[in-house]
Amino acid sequence: MPFLRIDGLRTVNQLGQNATLFDPFSDALALTMDLHASADLLALPNAAFSAEFQIFDPHQHKVVVSTYWGSTFNWGQYFWISKGNNWGPPSAYQTPEQWGLNWTANSIFGFRGIVKAQYIPSPGSGWSAVDAFDVSAMRWFRVREIFRL
């Protein structure tokens, strides 16, 4: 039975640490998913996946950021994917401010991942859904209450 699982989520800063507290202006915030695809999923013709990285604001009970990654499977069964520059230079970091977060009313946010697999059964047939998907639990993180004057 094919499957695509989210083994874990990480919120990674510029030091490569799986952090939960971020300076909104200077810390990088990379949203990272650790994924596991079954061997029979990878064996399907043109097997691919679509991943959505969401940032959730519990104060508004609303998804405030949604970013996508769609790709074929390039790294075998166990791999990670990440959104947001945390490798530098510092001026290019994807900070909480760069993500577009608003931490005035609420400074705690959740990162949630959604992944689903698809394939092309025969040439020209278009994508077909596979019963292989996952929705992660929320990984909570906090943005320091620092504001620009």
């Binding site: 790709s71 990670w80 959104k83 947001g84 994508w127 859904a129």
Partner: protein
Amino acid sequence: MNKKKQKRTKTTAEKQRKPISVKQLPPLKSDDIPSRGGKRAVKED
């Protein structure tokens, strides 16, 4: 045995049933937020 096949008339429910439209999955999408990926150091099956 020369039985003539009788055509079954459709029930009202069947007549009212709308045809199913199959929507194709959209192409894979990615946006321009910088991204990276790689193999994880886990023993494969």
